[in-house]
Amino acid sequence: MHIPDGFLSIPVATSTYVISGSWVGYSIKRVREEAGEKAIPTMGVLAAFIFAAQMINFPVAGGTSGHLVGGTLIAILFGPYVASIIISTILIAQSLLFADGGITALGANILNMGIIAPIVGFVIYRALRKWHFKASIFIASWVSIVLSAAACALELSLSGTIPINVSLPAMVSVHALIGIGEGLITLFVILAIEKFNPDLIVNAKLHTNNAR
């Protein structure tokens, strides 16, 4: 889903940069207030953890494998602000260290994967968790992936690169499948985390002391 350089028009590239920049800037302010001095070391190792988890291939079901994106996972555990900052930083690192995702498309990539995905995932999880805890996690991660793919398709068509009647069905159908993997992995990881430390799931904050 990483958009490379050259696929976006100037208005789309610049406007997504402005939106992403403002949201990430606001998130940084919020997190600084909440977590204070601990923000750097705690989020730093979390970012390294998610970056690493994205590089590991999981067996999902029926012999297929997938990897974690992690936006919804972090959003469920620590809230959408922390998730936005961590995923955005990972996207910057990937665009440099793997040349994965374009420099000029960074705004759009952050918007899709680092902002839309965690916010959507967080909101759906919060809305549904009282109804059914496990289903809410799966649905939240699945929808977050599908919606960010849809946003990606929309940006490509607004740029005049790929018409919407081609990009939207293609992106959404592929990511409806990828989303199942993301949903299952997020669900299983959250369940495992809950088993070892139920407190962490209840307070979505940077309470690092709970790790002990």
């Binding site: 730093g44 970012a47 390294a48 955005s88 374009g102 420099i103 000029t104 490509l156 430390n197 690092t208």
Partner: protein, 247 residues
């Protein structure tokens, strides 16, 4: 385990490696932007830009095979989306092959995207393999990237392989005690274990930072200067970019 980032040659000594990092960052981004905003890139222009990249590559002592190999690995990922452009139905028919119709305009659009991708990816590979990551981070600090983002990038770079190695060790320990490959449940236990390990490590690093006077911001020394050589390169590149733009 062996791990690869595209920066493995960033420790070499060469004129390109010695250039001021912020200058290199600026030149790389400027080249990408100049390329990306063109509506079309005629073949001679593409060849010219690619030749400039190759000259820079030669000057930097980075093996050509490394550059081309990485370009060829990354390019298909970038262009998979571009394929739908190739098969778009628009304008005059260019050619028809075993029932697949390719239209002239679509082919031109596809070639343009391909050219843009090659130049941008090539530029990034060149920039990252000629610049140490800690220099990139200091340059980010200078151009006022938020300090939290810079610090997180630094932590990712420092700890990502440590996390992967720990994870692989856990996996080996599990495989060594069972004949089957781990299931999804086991994998998620491993991930959550590494998650708690990360949180604990964060807490300990916080203590270790505190013990050395940390109070919320990470400060570093930046000992890079903008030299006359940097100035000349900047001047030459700006002329080149302007030519590319107007040519």
């Amino acid at each position: 385990m062996k791990h690869h980032f595209i920066d493995r040659y960033s420790n070499l000594e060469s004129p390109i490696h010695k250039l001021n990092t912020t200058l290199k960052l600026f030149l790389a981004v400027a080249l990408i932007i100049t390329t990306v905003i063109q509506s079309q890139i005629p073949a001679y222009k593409f060849v010219l830009i690619f030749a400039v990249l190759l000259i820079a590559l030669y000057t930097s002592h980075i093996p050509l095979t490394f550059f081309l190999k990485n370009l060829l690995i990354i390019l298909p990922f970038a262009c998979i989306g571009g394929l739908s452009i190739l098969f778009a139905n628009s304008g005059d028919l260019y050619s028809s092959f075993i029932g697949i119709k390719i239209y002239h305009q679509a082919l031109m659009n596809f070639i343009t995207i391909l050219e843009k991708s090659i130049i941008s990816i090539g530029t990034i590979i060149l920039f990252v393999s000629t610049t140490r990551f800690d220099h990139i981070l200091k340059s980010f600090q200078d151009i006022k990237v938020p300090s939290l983002i810079v610090a997180l990038l630094s932590f990712i770079y420092r700890y990502v392989f440590l996390v992967i190695d720990e994870f692989m060790r856990t996996k080996m320990a599990i495989v060594a005690r069972s004949s089957r490959q781990p299931t999804l449940t086991l994998w998620s236990y491993m991930i959550s274990r590494s998650f708690f390990g990360s949180l604990e490590r964060g807490e300990q690093i916080f203590q270790s930072m505190k013990a050395r006077g940390y109070n919320g911001t990470i400060k570093t020394l930046n000992n890079e200067n903008f030299t006359t050589g940097d100035g000349i390169i900047l001047f030459l590149c700006l002329i080149l970019y302007a030519l590319l733009w107007k040519l």
